[in-house]
Chain length 299, copies 4
């Protein structure tokens, strides 16, 4: 075959003789996205806040127990507000051996947050992580998985890895920042988030079909030497039925000793210290509007 | 493990040597939510009202027969309007041994109803329950499962239990009120409600996948000693296919003698008279808007 | 048990020793609903009209062949416009032994059509049925399954049966008109209608789960002695995958000789000439708005 | 049976003793539809562009490898912008033996594009195909599968085939242009397209049910001698789980030697040179608005 018929990227090199990788990540959002989206003059109601407080009260502990049963170290991304409101969380996560990462302060939405507010949110969160658990997080995940060039610059300035984009199903370097990519297909919220509010866009999906899809995703990622980044949420997957689903997924993932089950931070550290760092490096590419009647203008 | 690694809540204590609990609840809405949502100047049409009257005509009787076959006593929450329009319902429910509970008068939506109207709706409903069936209900369930602090205060003032929130998958005490929680995952309406109106947000889900999800939910709730609160509606689950689904669910739930199958009122009475009442007690926590540009303001 | 614990309605009596009934109905809409909904100044595009013309070109013939294979006589409800645009349809339906019924002229939507227009649409359609196929239809089905009191009066005046409402899962009499009810759960359009337009509300559902739900629906309707009214559309279920689904459904329905497989007109004729006519008779009940702040006003 | 009871169209004649046909088509959209829909003043974000660049970076190469494993020659429809931004694509497609076809320049949406812009987009795309890969494409597929009479005239003037409409499940001739029809049921985007934007209309469907539906579609198309036009997208079906789904589909399609697996161009060339060309020929039929209160006006 000529050079044209090859993918522009070679195989990814994993450590310790492993041939694929798996990360278990938790976005510990609890009440923060709800409070961010709440209009200041909204009527005071109790339904959604109680549903979300189920996370810190019950769900997250059930997830921690699940991780213990499978002997998996996870990465838990925690907004500053959630740490402040529930000060037992960060110390418990660290005590049980997991990585903790930044996830905004108020679960700020990228398009609604000026760059200086984003920087301040990062620094305030860093201070809370330090004071509550005595640690300095190595990584950041954007609330709602959206990034701007300004955010990426702030992340870069602080030497953090990022875990918010989806340009590969492998770790990559974008504009000099280590990116450990997420993946909508194996996120729980898009399938199961439901609170009964008018903002719900669909009812919770039955787990059976989604589990089958996740297993298919894993089967091909594993055989092709890729990274599967599972992401769940405390108040969503801490519910009973989803725990059963996660057990079935982890039964499959932990069946092979060829897979590197690692925290997001461990994957990022491997990337930056290996040949992958330069082999899987792309510039930041900005989208350009080309819509109605741009044809002539663009030429 | 250090104290930090433990859930802040201990195990729940069930009565009679049982290790988990199951409630079968019915929100007997019939035409009431439709009439509440109908604009006063809407064209007079027959489609949706006939679909909903299927409940009092056929569906609810089919559900009562199902309950008899499985020897289960249910709790039926009935809006005052539905009792008034269908005066054979409350007496039949009581005669067959079920609990009846309050569910608003017009199926009022919390955010659209002033506190004094809510109080009046409660009292008018209590009067109808008394006159039609000679009983005083012990509990309340909010239409659409939304509560306000004012509503919770009215419920507390009348010594009622509440069954509208989701802060645990166990009974709990919130601001002094006994809460027997509901659970979206095992509600029929979010999956199956469909009338052909523009307000429908999705078509009815096929029952097979939902049943499988409900069985998973039950499997983990049962093994962890929790409460499963099933909720169905007369005009939705009184249809043939959903009866078949409920049979399969009840086959599983009734298979173990370790599960306490009880009315919501029995569960509430147990809670308030046991150690659980104080162990599972939380204050009412009000959501606080933290959205766009609240970062500086909030600090 | 006391009288209160009984359903207010007795068992339905089927003819010929049968214990349940099944109707196969087709709403032969083709291009008519699209043209009705099209703004007069919409850009002229070809995508949706071609998708719908697939019905008269291919889909309906495939459905007729399916009916022949299972030896089932169906009822095909045909808008006047569709008969006029495709004059080979009505004669073919009659020649192959099926019943044909009225379905509006332009597939008029009830809430958008004054009573006198509705009456005129009925009469114009009757004229086309007479001239093209030499027959006088016995029944009417409302486009989009919505009725108004005025429409019901026009149907009554002409001595037609109606097949548009859902107040029972048995034939019934409403305001003196014979009603052979439809059922959203076993309609193809709500699951499978999709044209790629912005007005689509969800993608086509995979057939497997829907078939399983339809079989459950049938299982309970059959054992309880009810009527299953299947409804499909030429351009939707004339597609290959849905034909396979219908084969599997008909395999189940035709397996028992206890089921009366009949046209909608045969079921209506049986109803009106049997004891069921009076036993299953209800008045027309009009919905009354009771929404925000009607509590005091209504008392 | 009388002539009325027959479908107006005879059986389609396939070449080489084959009895049915299958095309594997890819709409290589990458970032183009996003950029077309992007408002000029939208905030600059990185989430969606990275998700779409996954196509040219990873997804399309994975699809090419899949095609090699099954020894299938596909047709890849490529917008001019995508070819310009990713100049390695067209040469690689041609080198690996696949057909390439036109797909607009900016992925223009039909209803938003004047006829002269559409013509210019065609010609500019033709120029890019010539300069990058030295070829003149034989066919066109409309972005978003919508056509106007003006577009069809431009396609006709250049002697191209079209693959954008759905009036048959066989190749046909419309207004003199060869049409190799597409089919929503076996398009990946309507089920799986999801980017996390507010414009998403539903979450990705689990593949299992969709695969089962595709296999049913294929089973009936194959036995009835029809054409199955599979369509996938680089950034959607280049993801791991969908590759697994496609493998299972191709296992079924390639199991029979009676099926003609061909490029869209080969199917179009056969159509135009066979008896089918005139047997399956229809005029262009324009939709006519008949909506509210057109009844009297139309007569």
């Amino acid at each position: 075959m000529s050079q044209h018929t090859q993918s522009p990227f070679p195989a990814y090199e994993w450590p310790e003789g492993k041939t694929s990788a798996f990360c278990f990540s938790v976005d510990v959002d609890a009440e923060s996205p709800y409070q961010w989206s709440l209009p200041a003059d909204a009527p005071v109601t109790l339904g959604q806040i109680e549903q979300r407080l189920f996370g810190p009260r019950v769900g997250i502990w059930r997830i921690l127990d699940l991780l213990d049963r499978y002997e998996i170290k996870a990465t838990l991304f925690v907004p500053g507000l959630v740490a402040r409101n529930h000060p037992d969380l960060l110390p418990a996560f660290v005590a049980r051996g997991h990585e903790v990462g930044l996830h905004g302060y108020f679960h700020e939405i990228a398009a609604e947050t000026p760059a200086d507010e984003f920087a301040r949110a990062l620094d305030e969160s860093l201070a809370i992580f330090k004071s509550q658990a005595g640690i300095v997080p190595a990584g950041f995940r954007s609330p709602a998985w959206e990034m701007t060039p300004a955010m990426l610059a702030e992340v870069k300035r602080r030497g953090l890895y990022d875990s918010s984009l989806m340009g590969f199903d492998l770790p990559y370097t974008i504009d000099g920042v280590t990116q450990v990519p997420v993946l909508w297909a194996v996120d729980d919220a898009i399938y199961f988030k439901f609170t009964g509010a008018q903002t719900d866009r669909w009812p919770p999906a039955p787990q059976g079909g989604i589990l089958e899809a996740w297993l298919d995703e894993w089967q091909v990622l594993e055989r092709e030497g890729r990274l599967m980044m599972l992401t769940i949420h405390d108040w969503i997957s801490g519910r009973a039925g989803r725990i059963r689903m996660l057990e079935r997924l982890l039964d499959a993932v932990t069946a092979s000793s060829d897979t590197w089950i690692a925290t997001v931070g461990e994957v990022a550290a491997h990337h930056v210290s290996s040949v992958n760092r330069d082999r899987f490096s792309v510039p930041m590419r900005l989208p350009q509007a080309s819509g109605p009647h741009r044809f002539r203008a663009a030429r």
